[in-house]
Point group: C2
Chain length 354, copies 2
């Protein structure tokens, strides 16, 4: 499996996904500002992967702090937290990683600073390992929805490249393949940044899963012809009532699925569920620069000079379009997410089983 991100020799090595599939190039980040730049410029993308990058960026910054007392040390990390949080306002995993590291630091406040620095590296690597475990669990709960002969639609990239490994939306596909199921995948190319064309089709080809690339315009026609059996997508942030923020165009896929009676699944690690936000209309939606739309790869111009552009990076799919949210703890109806936010939910009772 291609390594998305790793900690090596006191540097963070990340695959520059903005150049895939033309070039497979790794970038060595020697300081946290470069990690932040990588998150902002989409060298690394995908909710779980940027959570891992955040933790590794913090560990990197920590090594450079000269304070010898705990207060000075954590004070030195404050601008690091703020810089990382500001890179991608819609992604909950950056905040999640910052919160986890903050708690980790509080628990270790009696450690010597040199020890804390080493522990932060270990913690970042633990987040990576846990992510892979979580994705495999999502894969096991999600694979039940894929049957022999199915064609699965996916949008954007919630694949291995978006995570530490296995992916979220792709984990049910990889596990279904391990289970010997025969199925194929249709990948929406996912304009403007083309994660489906560049990343999803590439990594599914590498995994030996039959994949066909289409333009985002084509999914509706294939559904109309009865050629798609289910859709599985990822999420950047899912909220308490089951509304799902994900890559722009996901809502369109969900509407098309509803119109054709096709189940629409969202693979969501618990870390991407934001129980603090009651409904999807309260999720901040990032608008990105026009150039992503007017220039392919930043170079190939496709639109008139000076044209006005609206470039919403995400949309919100209301819970009523979602058949199930697949987490590492099981697959659930979106309206049951609020049960999961309570202490000791009866998971066995809430889980959807085919």
């Amino acid at each position: 499996m291609v390594k998305t991100i790793e900690w090596k020799d006191n540097k963070v090595i990340m695959l520059d996904q903005s150049r895939l599939p033309i070039d497979v190039a790794y970038i060595e980040c020697k300081d946290y500002l470069m990690v932040a730049e990588g998150i902002r410029k989409l060298w690394i993308r995908g909710a779980p992967a940027i959570g891992i990058a955040t933790a590794m960026g913090i560990a990197l910054a920590a090594q450079e702090i000269s304070a010898t007392d705990f207060e000075g040390f954590t004070k030195g990390l404050d601008p690091v937290f703020n810089t990382l949080i500001a890179t991608r306002p819609t992604a909950v995993n950056i905040q999640w990683a910052v919160d986890r590291i903050r708690k980790f630091l509080d628990a270790g406040k009696d450690e010597p600073i040199a020890g804390l620095k080493a522990l932060l590296i270990e913690e970042a690597e633990r987040i990576l390992a846990e992510d892979i475990e979580i994705n495999m669990a999502i894969g096991r709960w999600g694979a039940q929805f894929i049957h022999d002969g199915d064609t699965v639609l996916t949008h954007c990239n919630a694949g291995s490249l978006a995570t530490g490994g296995y992916g979220t939306a792709t984990a049910p596909m990889l596990i279904a393949k391990e289970q010997g199921k025969k199925f194929q995948v249709i990948a929406d190319e996912t304009r403007p940044v083309l994660q489906g064309a560049r990343l999803t089709s590439w990594e599914l080809m590498q995994a030996g899963i039959p994949v066909t690339l289409i333009t985002d315009n084509t999914a509706g026609a294939l559904m109309q012809k009865g050629e798609i059996n289910l859709a599985i997508v990822g999420t950047d942030r899912t909220v308490l009532n089951g509304d799902v923020a994900n890559k722009i165009g996901t809502y369109t896929v969900a509407v098309l699925c509803k119109e054709h009676g096709i189940p629409f699944y969202v693979a969501a690690p618990m870390s991407s569920i934001d129980f603090s936000i009651p409904t999807g209309n309260l999720i901040p939606i990032e608008e990105r620069e026009p150039r992503e739309v007017t220039h392919i790869f930043g170079t190939c111009r496709i639109a008139p000079e000076g044209v006005k552009v609206r470039n919403l990076a995400f949309d919100v799919t209301p819970a009523r379009y979602v058949t199930a949210i697949i987490t590492e703890n099981g697959a659930f109806k979106p309206e049951n997410l609020k049960e999961l936010s309570r202490p000791d939910p009866d998971l066995e009772k809430l889980r959807i089983r085919v």
Copy 2:
């Protein structure tokens, strides 16, 4: 207004739309094979424009035929008809132009061949002039649906560039502007060939109509926010029951419109209505080469080498999604199209008026 196609000095001059908006280049077609190549390679595109190109291509071929009797002359045109019809199987206007020229020839079979050759040029130029008249009529019937403050969504290019002038889907916009209405347009970029980004946004900017370019993925999110009031699209072929074949993605726009209670209009010159086909599922749908999807402008690669691609060029929007079909004879409910196919329909009774 930019000239899409014209007859000049015994040549057909066409704007190479495949290079817009980067280059504004005209191609001189000296023989009908080059006209056919232009239709096939999308130098010229849009149902009415390729009907005009077909008639001009035939006129061009006619000048080269050496037969001196009517039978030999028309026999010489048979391969021309066949070559032109084979260029784009979904487009009804090529067949329409061929049929018109065939009838025109039959009516002139007593003319000397030299006279017929000149008459074919006149007839091709008449088709161009009539097309502009037709589009202005579509514009007058369609402008009633555009109100002050509206935002109009359009997909692909059914603009001046797709016709002799004024366009079909854009004609209501141009006439509404002439009527002093204040409104704006959202143009779907329309992957894979990007007619919306390259052509529609360009020609609306030239016409002084405020236009915003979006990816095809964005229309759903804007509808959800209440930012789109109506959609107007063109058609490559509309059939007896009101089903509409148009650029891939049109069906998705129609489904989204239905989901949000937004009216969905189709601008269709009578020449694009094929009364011989009862329902949309019988319309042949062209599948085009993968390279349109994997390479932008044929050069900028965006997908892995060897990836499998499904590239449907058109989709079919069932009549139940269509609010009205706007023709040069008025706007009609799609279920009333069959009335128009009967002799002496009561147009006044059938027309929709706001």
